[in-house]
């Protein structure tokens, strides 16, 4: 549209100015120069040889559009798409009911309509190269990087099964049925060969997870289903592209021989495996490189992106599956890279990947809308409708059959609801569209195929996308009869669910445990030494926890709100005694419904760890984890003063500050543990000599606690030393010593971890090494913007 605009402007300008050529030297006709005083001749003002006195021939204000045209238009398109995204979220309810892809396509349709009425052509950016080299890699990198690895590997077989076999089933099934339809003369599409049918079928069998996953998340389907859908979509991108190339190649051939077919099948495996190996290789190289970037933190994200992209390109060079390559690369390197890079780089990497992936996807849907209106369509009722029908039918059949086959091999089989979700959730999207659009022109019925693809995409995205949510909810609701549930049911059920989730995590459920074990040994012995910079002989679990605590610490201090510390976890019951003599309250049914609602909205869902990762359009958000961790820390701190709480209702007070101070303070503050549980050394594999202090004199050890008393509850009017001695006893009584030691243990990692980050110069509050306790200053006192608040009863 902008080109149009400038042309018009130029025309008017020409008309009014009346001069023939006003182009600057060197540019084409569309340059415009605004001249203050019109030169008397037709020469360009700059080269006017006769400078008349009193007339400036220099252009004061120039407008040179073609120079910036391409970047400008790209920026504007992207900006437009971004505005669309912003606009959607203004009214929150929309995004709940209508998946974002629908909205984007609608906007695209509108813009397309506008352009069409202005007789503009859409920007010719969707060439094969542009799509496959620029727009697809970010999307795939996004999916690969944020893929939760553990559930993924646990369900690897199922994922592959559905992705590969499922897509094959779909393509072949649809292809054959369509070919059969073509034979019927009525529809007039007899010229479409079998190969071309297969090609079309492979295009429309690629599913997209975007809308489905958001819905699944809201309904909280169990994570097995989740990860299968996610993984399937990821891999079937690769499979589809391979099939597409395969059939493309085959479609060009006149005669297909059996030998060719076998070659192609063999090629399929080469492509897939080759991509995987390549990806893994690049992943390791990236990890290795990040080992040395300790001094140049700024380029760390760049390295990640460059290597991933390089993996993609080189895979394309060898015509092996580039999607697989980039995904596997992201998977492999993520683990090591996130240990090597600084916290900031980590955040940057995640943000940028999300951003670019999101933009890319947005643009594709957007163009879908635009192109729908502006291209020449070839419409053939029979073919297209049957294509749609078969697409749905074969997917449903496919899921049914495949599930039956694979269920016996799974520890948790899929029931019918799951299968319905899988089948109905097969929306088509970006990849299908791009593949259709970039079909080679020698396919006779290219326009028909494009139209068909667009129809299938729009149907699935709009109709299935919008209805899947109510349908799934309906199926869910029918199972649990909400009205008859008592509050007890709800609470205790949730308790049980959390318990089971906890026990499962404790057992480290891993179905291919043997291989994982071997791999982890290999990993610890060899890989980590090579690929990670400061390799401590600590388990990866600890590292993960450390990272979580680190992020938590930073965020906690930024966010001084909320009543999170309301209740401790294992504090002794003395503190909790209130006036318990309440008479029986009367509960209205409306009260009960309110309670149900309150509980269902606010109780923590289980297994948030997977769910939060797979939200396609936003970054993983672990608010729940944060809340829980914060609570634990406040409860830990409070428990240290458990002794001073006797007989008061202090425990009910909410503390407005949070107990995770920076650096080593927790370490220094919690040595009471050593006093209480004098059961020998803890042989920690982590050699922090400072921790290994022997039984220390209590007053010294707890001296850092003293400043706390001034900051907090009323109840601490108790004599500090006595109070703290009592606390230690209180500690024992309340079983919290171990909690305390645990955090002392682990947060002592914090300083070490932070010492790595010190080179950023980020946190001046971080200290280099954990050391003696005696001269520790209360870190909370140090931070200038922290306001001690009066605790208050609730």
């Amino acid at each position: 549209g902008y080109l149009h605009f400038t042309k018009k402007k130029k025309k008017t300008f020409l008309r009014t100015r009346g001069s023939e050529t006003i182009s600057k030297a060197g540019t084409d006709q569309s340059g415009v120069a605004l001249v203050i005083n019109r030169p008397p001749s037709n020469h360009t003002p700059d080269t006017d040889p006769d400078p008349d006195p009193g007339e400036t021939t220099q252009a004061v204000f120039t407008l040179n559009y073609p120079r910036i045209q391409i970047p400008f238009e790209i920026t504007l398109w992207v900006l437009l798409a971004s505005f669309a995204k912003i606009g959607f979220h203004v009214y929150h309810k929309i995004t709940v009911w209508v998946p974002e892809s629908c909205l984007l396509i609608s906007i695209g349709l509108i813009v397309g309509g506008i352009m069409h009425s202005l007789h503009e052509k859409p920007p010719a950016v969707l060439t094969s190269n542009a799509f496959f080299l620029y727009m697809l890699p970010p999307i795939v990198l996004d999916s690969g990087y944020f893929m939760p690895t553990r559930p993924f590997f646990e369900n690897f077989g199922t994922v592959l099964w559905f992705a590969v076999v499922g897509t094959l089933w779909n393509s072949i099934g649809i292809g054959i049925s369509l070919f059969a339809i073509c034979q019927i003369e009525v529809f007039g599409v007899q010229d479409i060969t079998l190969q071309e049918n297969f090609l079309f079928a492979s295009i429309i069998s690629a599913v997209e997870p975007v809308a489905v996953l958001t819905v699944f998340e809201d309904i909280s389907v169990h994570e097995q289903l989740y990860i299968v859908v996610f993984g399937e979509c990821l891999f079937n991108d690769a499979v589809t592209v391979v099939l597409y190339n395969l059939f493309n190649h085959v479609a060009a051939l006149e005669v297909v021989e059996a030998g060719d077919v076998f070659l192609d099948i063999g090629r399929f495996f080469v492509v897939g495996l080759g991509g995987t190996i390549f990806g893994a290789l690049f992943g390791f190289v990236t990890a290795f490189t990040t080992r040395f970037t300790g001094k140049v933190r700024e380029i760390e994200p760049l390295i990640i992106f460059l290597y991933s992209y390089l993996a993609y390109l080189i895979a394309e060079l060898f015509a092996i599956s580039s999607i697989m390559a980039i995904v596997i690369c992201a998977l492999t390197m993520k683990y090591y890279v996130e240990e090597n890079v600084s916290q900031r780089s980590c955040t940057t990497i995640r943000h940028v990947i999300k951003m670019v992936g999101s933009v890319s996807e947005t643009l594709i849907f957007f163009f879908l809308g635009v192109v729908t209106i502006t291209t020449e369509h070839e419409w053939n009722w029979g073919y297209i409708l049957f294509a749609l029908l078969f697409a749905l039918l074969w997917r449903g059949l496919g899921i049914l059959v495949l599930t039956q086959i694979i269920n016996p091999f799974r520890t948790i089989p899929f029931n019918f609801k799951d299968q319905f979700g899988l089948a109905y959730g097969g929306l088509r999207g970006a990849v299908s569209f791009a593949l259709a659009f970039t079909l080679p022109d020698n396919i006779g019925r290219k326009d028909l195929f494009i139209t068909g693809t667009i129809v299938v995409i729009i149907f699935t995205v709009f109709i299935q996308g919008i209805t899947i949510r109510p349908l799934l909810k309906l199926m869910n609701v029918r199972k649990t009869n909400r009205n008859q549930e008592t509050i007890n049911d709800e609470i205790h059920k949730r308790l049980m669910e959390h318990t089971v989730a906890g026990i499962e995590d404790l057992c480290g459920q891993w179905s291919h445990y043997y291989w994982k074990d071997k791999f982890m040994k290999f990993n610890n012995r060899i890989l980590r030494k090579i690929l990670i910079r400061d390799n401590h002989p600590e388990s990866s679990i600890v590292a993960l926890y450390k990272k979580l605590e680190l992020q938590n610490a930073m965020e906690v201090l930024d966010q001084m709100s909320g009543d999170i510390s309301a209740a401790p976890s294992l504090i002794s019951l003395h503190e909790e005694r209130k006036n318990a003599s309440k008479s029986r309250k009367k509960f209205l049914s409306s009260d009960v419904t309110n309670m149900h609602e309150l509980l269902s909205k606010n109780m923590y869902k289980i297994r948030h760890r997977t769910v939060s990762y797979t939200n396609k359009h936003t970054l993983p958000d672990d608010i729940t984890a944060r809340e829980i961790l914060m609570r634990r820390h406040t409860s830990l701190r409070r428990s240290l003063r458990a002794g001073s709480f006797h007989g008061t209702n202090a425990a009910k007070m909410s503390q407005k500050y949070f107990s995770l101070p920076m650096g080593r303070s927790l370490n220094s503050r919690f040595p009471p543990r050593r006093l209480v549980h004098a059961d020998g050394d803890i042989e920690s594999e982590i050699n922090y000599s400072s921790i290994r202090h022997p039984q220390r004199v209590s007053s010294k050890a707890v001296m850092p606690l003293r400043p706390l008393n001034t900051l907090k509850e009323v109840a601490s009017s108790v004599n500090t030393v006595d109070g703290q001695n009592e606390e230690q006893r209180g500690c024992r009584r309340s079983h919290l010593g171990s909690n305390v030691s645990r955090s002392g243990h682990l947060t002592s990692h914090l300083p070490h971890g932070s010492s790595r980050n010190c080179s950023d110069g980020d946190h001046d509050a971080w200290v280099e090494e954990p050391q003696n306790n005696s001269d520790v200053q209360h870190p909370l006192m140090r931070r200038p913007h922290w306001l001690p608040q009066k605790p208050h009863d609730k």
Binding site: I491, Q509, L548, E576, K578, L598, K601, M603, I628
Partner: protein, 177 residues
């Protein structure tokens, strides 16, 4: 043997026990459990860990570990009938319920008091519920379950109120068989 868990599972769990046991002294302490990050962000993490340690002790050996885990074994159909042969098996419905009960009942007085309930509730909900609302929910919960009017939930009341719930299925982990 009494636990009826298959040999391969026991081996696997022993490896897991071993990998958790950083101190290499054949027993797990609370820190060892707390190192599991998923437990750290489980709202009931501490309580679950606590359930492994018998009263007053701070170490649990493999036998104790397995004993606790055995509660979560799925109930086989053929076992449902032979309920009281040699004492109830650990994974019976009653024992599963008892496990859940003890997550609430910290002071082991066989009653869930209002405060105990409140504590657990607070652990399980987010920040948007005020203390008052939570208090009402707790009151209602006790009211629904309490039959003898002592404002506490005893174990038998607990069992009764959950009689419609499929506890055998909810408190089971599939691979433990």
């Amino acid at each position: 043997k009494k636990l009826n868990i298959s040999h391969s599972q026991i081996t696997r769990l022993y490896s897991r026990f071993h990998s958790l046991d950083k101190g290499e002294n054949g027993a797990l302490s609370r820190e060892d459990f707390q190192r599991i990050p998923e437990l750290a962000i489980n709202p009931l993490g501490d309580r679950i860990i606590n359930a492994f340690f018998p009263e007053g002790e701070d170490q649990v050996n493999f036998r104790g570990f397995m004993r606790t885990l055995a509660h979560f074994r799925p109930v086989e159909d053929n076992e449902k009938n032979k309920d009281l042969t040699s004492g109830e098996p650990l994974n019976s419905r009653t024992n599963k319920l008892h496990f859940a009960f003890q997550l609430y009942d910290l002071d082991r007085d066989d009653k869930i008091s209002r405060d105990e309930l409140l504590q657990v509730l607070r652990m399980m909900v987010g920040v948007n519920i005020s203390d008052e609302q939570l208090g009402s929910i707790a009151d209602r919960t006790i009211q629904e379950a309490d039959t003898n009017g002592d404002m506490c939930i005893s174990f038998s009341e607990f069992t009764k109120v959950l009689e419609k719930v499929d506890v055998e299925q909810k408190m089971s982990i599939r691979f433990l068989h």
